[in-house]
Symmetry: C2
Subunit: 295 residues, 2 copies
């Protein structure tokens, strides 16, 4: 990638997050190659000018920067190092930007393997959900070499609003996991608070209005509290994904020699929701577990 | 109290919260009688025109509305029903406004006893801390008869910003306890998140900046997070008072037949801080317990 030329881009993983993110790059008139496990997800992007690639290796061969947005650590490993993976086309100067939320430790290992081929890996998990992806208001937390970060920053600015270089390889993933600790335990705070309000006979909507502007206030209270009250469990962010991320948190905590007692408990509660068949509900369904806890 | 006349006011309890609150009433040119266990706390208000009363009964005898701002349930009981308590001067039309944070159940009992004498009790606990008291930006959560609430609303507007009538007697206290659930468990979220960030090798200030604007955001993160990082444990809100309030939460939860598991645990952690002699630190000292939890 030479800074005087328009970089050629590839985007691998066209799910609920990746598709709109790739769409913003296309709208910004970058040449874009796309790949996804099921091709149908690429149809709309192809109709707008994106070029289909049969594999991650083929996509990477035609690109200066490869974006990846899949689900979990093994998915990223397959995209990078599988039979027709990105590594097959890795070469000096190629930059891979991984928007998936995966293990920070595994990320460091992937980065070292690509580095041996001259290719830079940036971990760049996002927060802000599908709304943030569609509106290009994502927060993007980036780990990896500063030089590679500076090169792709103009591209990240097309997809997100708050772009932070958090440190070396894995630091973006760890920052995302810190984000998930805050999100899930603050969610739990809202669940216990509304349980007390409702069982104590208060009007819960009036209660939220009375306290949300002060030291009790949070995004979770403002956004999930009213859904809990209304029994609206449509996802924003799904229980299955929160559970996956919290398992990554606990793995990272173990590796750092840290005990996160509340995170352990809230992870169990999300696991319970999954076992009740509610993995595809929004994370506000945590309220159902908390309010029905045996006394 | 007749709405056509300027009401005569009394303020009992001139601590870190009560003194500035009473001062705002004085600045608004209401006639004000004051009482406090130690008279020296009243000196400045007296120099500005307040009249000293030797007891709560004497204060109430000279007032249409009596404000109370003391610490705990037994303190309120003593002010209202002690030897020279407010009840000695209770009469039809008198309104008592209790700004202390105390038991919702005890509040209902106090209200019934005063009601038998023709006097109305409003529970009106506040949040916003000493800063809110000084700047008249308190949130005031009010329980009790609507009619009494309407009468004192202009007075509450002199001391606070967000004034909510939450429901019948005790509803203000219960709303305050819901507030304390949110405050303390969100604080815990910040503690576990920053523990992971720091032990995982991230720059914690950069981490807060990367995540605070999104779904992870809260007042506690913005305000206590930087103090935790800096090791600044000067109070805002003191551990001793948070612990007192959380015991009220657990009592109210028991009475409502509710189990609040995370609140139970965070209460234990604040108890541990007290046993370490840190009861007068700010609540951000919770971080010290969380980050040193044995693995």
């Amino acid at each position: 990638m030479q800074s005087s030329n328009i970089p050629r881009l590839a985007f691998i993983g066209l799910g609920i997050m990746g598709r709109p993110m790739a769409g913003h790059l296309l709208s910004a008139e970058y040449p874009l190659v796309v790949h996804n496990r099921s091709k149908s997800k690429a149809d709309e992007l192809i109709s707008r000018g994106a070029v289909w690639a049969e594999s991650p290796a083929v996509a990477a061969a035609q690109a200066d920067v490869v974006f990846v947005c899949v689900t979990d650590t093994p998915d990223v490993e397959a995209v990078l190092f599988g039979e027709n993976g990105v590594a097959k086309s890795a070469r000096p100067g190629l930059i891979v930007v991984d928007h998936s939320t995966i293990s920070p430790g595994a990320t460091r290992g992937f980065g070292e393997k690509l580095s041996a081929l001259g290719t830079s890996l940036l971990d760049a998990p996002v927060s802000g959900g599908d709304t943030g992806a569609r509106n290009a208001t994502l927060s993007i937390m980036v780990g990896g070499a500063e030089e590679a970060f500076e090169k792709v920053l103009p591209l990240l600015n097309v997809m997100g609003k708050t772009i932070t270089h958090c440190g070396p390889s894995g630091a973006g993933q760890l920052t995302k996991l810190v984000n998930q600790v805050l999100v899930s335990v603050t969610n739990l705070a809202v669940c216990e608070a509304l349980t007390l309000a409702i069982k104590g006979g208060l009007d819960p909507a009036k209660t939220i209005a009375a306290v949300a502007g002060g030291a009790a206030g949070s995004w979770q209270l403002n956004n999930l509290g009213p859904k809990m009250i209304a029994g609206d469990f449509a996802p924003g962010f799904m229980v299955d994904l929160q559970y996956k991320d919290l398992r990554l948190v606990l793995e990272a905590a173990r590796q750092a020699g840290v005990r996160l007692e509340t995170v352990s408990r809230v992870t169990e509660s999300f696991g319970k929701l999954r076992s009740l068949g509610r993995g595809r509900d929004g994370t506000q369904a945590l309220f159902e577990v908390v309010k029905s806890a045996p006394v």
